[in-house]
Assembly symmetry: C2
Homo-oligomer: 222 residues x 2
């Protein structure tokens, strides 16, 4: 075990080793964020999980926010990839098929849903301008691709209407994710306070309902 | 000046003096939150602005999150009050009148818009169960009253549809507020990166558009 730990502290020197180390850092941060909530994971926690010193981690990322913003960018790219596979040659078309695809794909990316709230509130504010640029451009590419796919599935959507759908769905997913994953103290409160029993929210069910509503609204005002 | 500072440290003993001190703490936190953003204000900053010791402040509130969650509750109550005055005996009715009332009243409460994002993500997670209960019940009362007012202005809304409108509008306001108030680094990035020029968002204009869309959608799926 001591040998393994020491091996972890060896500096990665080849480009391949560096890329592997970077992926290991991201994977550890993703796992810790999913298990404990992104807000409570420190740079030290991530370094410990990878088995490297904090100083070694800082050769790859400036801040914990930099790590999580990179994972948020990966989340946007993954979401676009999933939807490309599902909607590129769609079996069903129309508003309901689009709502189901957007919602189910988001529900399958819990860390991305958590990061959608953290990105504008915390993450973007504690990274270099270059990290912010990389994140924003990746997100923009994903939104552009998803908007195109959405118009393909529901041709009554304009490109700008499709953009409104994506903006609303991600804002709703960010809010609903936090509400549907309350801390222990709120779980206890909801159980003991009958007037707050409604506050428990089923994320995929509620997101699907709100996404259908949003698409219907975008089509109605177009 | 030394006399004034010392006077600030005298313990408030009468109920009136205690209530005044509590209001002074909330007012100082509100002003600092508006000026610098809620995320960057510490308990020590608030104590300094009131002119009391941090230990004295802790007799009123457990944490900085407790202070800001109290201000968020005040925000819900204020929003309901504004809408009661505007919509209790409305001049205009219909979906557009409702969208304008919801949007303009939210835009007039910038601190509340900022707190709408912080409450579920950060504030609710760092307060006692009693503080969480007080916040949730105040918010619930406000939502119930605003839903009733919304149905009065747009009678095609069901009570549950009105609830969906309020849930969506507050989620959108929370997201749009953060996006439309970027940190300096993002302002610089948007200015120098043509592909990101669209990322600058006018909060009231965009919120009105998304609110109209949401109401149209709720009416369409009802």
């Amino acid at each position: 075990m001591i040998g393994m730990t020491n091996a972890g502290f060896v500096r990665a020197r080849s480009p391949e080793a560096k890329a592997q180390r970077r992926e290991a850092i991201l994977a550890a941060a993703a796992e810790l964020g999913l298990r404990h909530g992104v807000r409570s994971v420190s740079l030290g926690d991530i370094a410990r999980a990878v088995g490297i010193a904090k100083s070694a981690l800082l050769r790859y990322f400036d801040t914990r926010e930099d790590i999580y913003l990179t994972l948020a960018a990966d989340g946007w790219a993954q979401w676009a990839r999933t939807l490309r596979e599902r909607l590129g040659d769609p079996v069903d078309t129309g508003a309901d098929a689009l709502a189901a695809a957007l919602t189910e794909s988001l529900s399958a990316q819990p860390l991305f849903c958590e990061l959608l709230a953290h990105a504008p509130l915390n993450l973007e504010r504690h990274v270099s301008i270059e990290s912010a640029r990389a994140y924003k451009l990746t997100a923009l590419d994903a939104v552009t691709e998803i908007a195109g796919l959405a118009v393909g599935v529901e041709p009554r959507l304009t490109p700008s209407g499709a953009g409104d759908v994506i903006a609303a769905v991600t804002a709703l997913a960010a809010a609903l994710w936090q509400i549907s994953h309350p801390p222990e103290s709120l779980v206890k409160l909801y159980a003991e306070e009958p007037r707050l029993a409604h506050a428990s929210v089923n994320f995929p069910v509620r997101l699907l309902h709100m996404t259908r509503t949003t698409i219907a609204g975008v089509l109605a005002v177009a």
